[in-house]
Amino acid sequence: MNNPAGGQSSKSKAGSSQPSETSFKRKRGVFQKELQHMMYGFGDDQNPLPESVALMEDIVVEYITDLVHKAQDIGSKRGKLSVEDFLYLIRKDFPKLNRCRELLSMNEELKQARKAFETDEEKLRKAFETDEEKMRKAFEADEDKHGSTE
């Protein structure tokens, strides 16, 4: 669980962290780089303040934590956690719901495209191997006729 990402040391968070059942030590600044670009994209300065980025990360992780716990509360009736549980949670937030649907369908499209590519690739490879085999046999037959030039 504690694979260092980018060589950052794990530190247990004090104060705002929620006591977890599994002693999970959250690394600081896991999302720092991405958040900087994100905040700039949404309207912050090109170089957001480090303390603002850190606070943003804390709030977002807390938000995600609460989201997951609520989804688990819903999903626990069925057992496993599922995507539908999350979609149910944000059902009244239309922008988020629509965005999620868009992302999911894009992901599905990519999956289909990749599958089709692999099937095509497989067909091409088989066709190539058959041709290669034919050429090899033809070459060997030719050699036998004229003898090796060594």
Binding site: E34, H37, G41, F42, V60, V61, Y63, I64, V83
Partner: protein
Amino acid sequence: MAKMQAILSRFSEEQMSRYESFRRAGFQKSNMKRLLGSISGTPKISMPMTIVVSGIAKMFVGELVETARIVMTERKESGPIRPCHIREAYRKLKLEGKVPKRSVSRLFR
């Protein structure tokens, strides 16, 4: 589609740069997967779930940043966003019901 093209063609360099960051920025899938796994306690987190939560979280960041900018305008302040603005924005979003509330009943699991 055409409307978007028309808008984009009128962007200044700064606007285009910001828009590029807006489009490209996202939570790294591996980090998000790890986070979701540790919160839920389940080792296997599906790709669609990672994608969905990343999308929701990114939009949430957007709501916070935009609201923080509104707070700054109200206070007639400028420059980079400061933590106090984010805290105020967070408070506002909670009042609007845009933040999931922690249910107390969790204590009795």
